[in-house]
Amino acid sequence: MLGDAAPPSETPLVLVGREGRRREIVAADAAAQRAGLRIGMAASKALALVRDLVMRDAEPDADLAALDRLALWALRRYSPIVATDPPDGLVIEATGATHLHGGEAAMLADMVARLKAAGLSARAAMADTWGAAHALARFAARPTLVVPAGESAAAIMALPIAALRLPATIVDSLRRLGLDQIGDLERTPRAPLALRFGSDIGRRLDQAMRRLSEPIDPIRPAEIAEVRRQFPEPISAAETIARYIARLVDELCILLEARGQGARRLDLLCHRVDARMAAVRVGTALPVRDARRLTQLLTDKIETIDPGFGIELMRLAATIAEPLSEKQTISDLVAPPEADIRDLIDTLSNRIGGDRLYRIVPVQSDVPERCVARAAPASPDAGASWSGLWPRPARLLASPEPIETVALLPDHPPVTFTWRGVRRRVRRADGPERIFEEWWRSDAELDAVRDYFRVEDEQGERFWIYRAGDGEHGETGSQRWYMHGIFG
């Protein structure tokens, strides 16, 4: 990464590496590609073609190290099983990890957006196999692509053979034989190809088509605290797994205590005898080193572990650990201590996703839909509240719904109104409560006002309705009426 030393983006930039005795371009940015420079072109030719070309030496080792750092980021953020796919990719096992990020498509979009914010342009694809996802990410994703389960094989048929992770020489020879797409290769008899090119083609094709399994060997950086246990006899019963989880957690807690840390995220990897892997990830809101609580969180998820023919190795790692020191508390003799519900919050957020659990905190705003904000459930209480002079409805409609009214302007409540096809006669009403929109947000809100009324119909149901505008001046709003909430 060049960081601040990078030339401006409009200047063509290429990286030059040594291929045998010749210096050639190994990477070119968008500006350089527009200027007609291609990967594999001789460096001297490129210099002759483009005048103000910036040329840097390629540093493959530094690139690999950067890729490792990126893999660690993905490991902490997205999934317990992440590996590098050199020279320019990451492979992430997303099974069981997507629901915490709002689904498959949302997870990929989030990933690409975050990388873009860091200055990296990335493409991401999700498919049934490593091979298919690799091919789709490089040749079909714009910039993200999710292929539904079971349709990966069909999706890669039209992609070029270069997508198959084969050596460049083989790809070239195949092209000379008239085989351009993966579909062509799939329809060609296997034996002559294997005789001429070796077993690589068949293996890569089978891996992409899910006829051959391809386990991902996840990265395990040294700085992460990890404990493991190998089983002489594979285990598969839920009770046995639970027992060993408890032992692993005990060992991990001792390790964390020596480091003065608590776990924020735990990854349990179960290596099965058929070379597959089952992973469980749990997170906590604050660092935790309580073995009983961590065990509880992991055993809660035991039903998601598919042991297959048995588990031969279990690894437990504290992927994210933060400093945690013991604190002395002073007990209050009079008032009972405030109950600790952090463990409940952790359990629930691991079950349904962390952003589904929240507290609501007041925001200084008169506009009803803007006066509430979500905060983390374990966040400290600021003690603020809403100024409760005017009654507020128990249910606030997600968006105000237009209603038909008969009303006297400017400052009378409606006599009757029709909402969702039901006509109601107003018996009593309170208002108007005039709310000025926030002029500092946009020009449209400069003059806008809403006049809120609390109305009660003949049955006694109470509603919160408003008129967009003050009833006199056209610039304050459309003067239409809306339903915004329901009082109890």
Binding site: V372, R428, G460, R462, F487
Partner: protein, 253 residues
Amino acid sequence: MSTSAPRSVVSELRARIARLEGRTAHQRAVLPFGLAAIDRILPEGGLLRGALHEVAGGGNGAVDGAAAALFAAGVAARGGGKVLWCMTRADLFAPALAQAGLASARVVYVECGDEKALLACFEEGLRHAGLGAVVAEVSRLSMTASRRLQLAAEASGTLGLAVRRWRRQTEAADFGMPTAATTRWRVSAVPSAPLPVPGVGRPRWLLELIRSRAGECADFIVEACDDQGRLALPSSLADGQGAKDVGRRRASV
């Protein structure tokens, strides 16, 4: 004074049944409404804490659940402690709960994707003994599910409030199906207290106690929660009952 003898017999019988059911004393904690008219009807003299209670809205309230939510908020507010509020539709307006006495700092909201996850969260909250109350907005509640919730509440002593809320008015017939809940309430909005000037007075509810384990059914007209979560009896009604009580007390002195 002839009523006192049967009363002691009844209470002794109740204690014996409670022993048979295997409950201990701390689970019999009760949260009274603070209104004699309601507490007198309930066999324990209030809402039993380690138990499941059902609340639904009447009429359109079956769909919007506004009054039922406020009623539950008022109960949870008076119960103290933190409150877990599970729901599938996030249209609750927190300032209204604060006005019913349930400060925003005390509530943790759980937005569940479906009913199944909601019931699981509800039960998990009830099993955890650190909460004051758990409120869940559920539409379907089977006998099995409610039995699980009731047992979880009994084990931890946490107050469970199921706010029944349906997508359509027609589905509200589901409220007739039996569940294991200890009490079942229906809250409907009725015209508010009349004021001498134009305006809406303090909201009033028709509070129906439809089912009460080992107790009688009743209905009351009450005034909605104040900022401490307390209900009140409308002044005209309160006067009438109060006068009767006063008369009896005088007679016994």
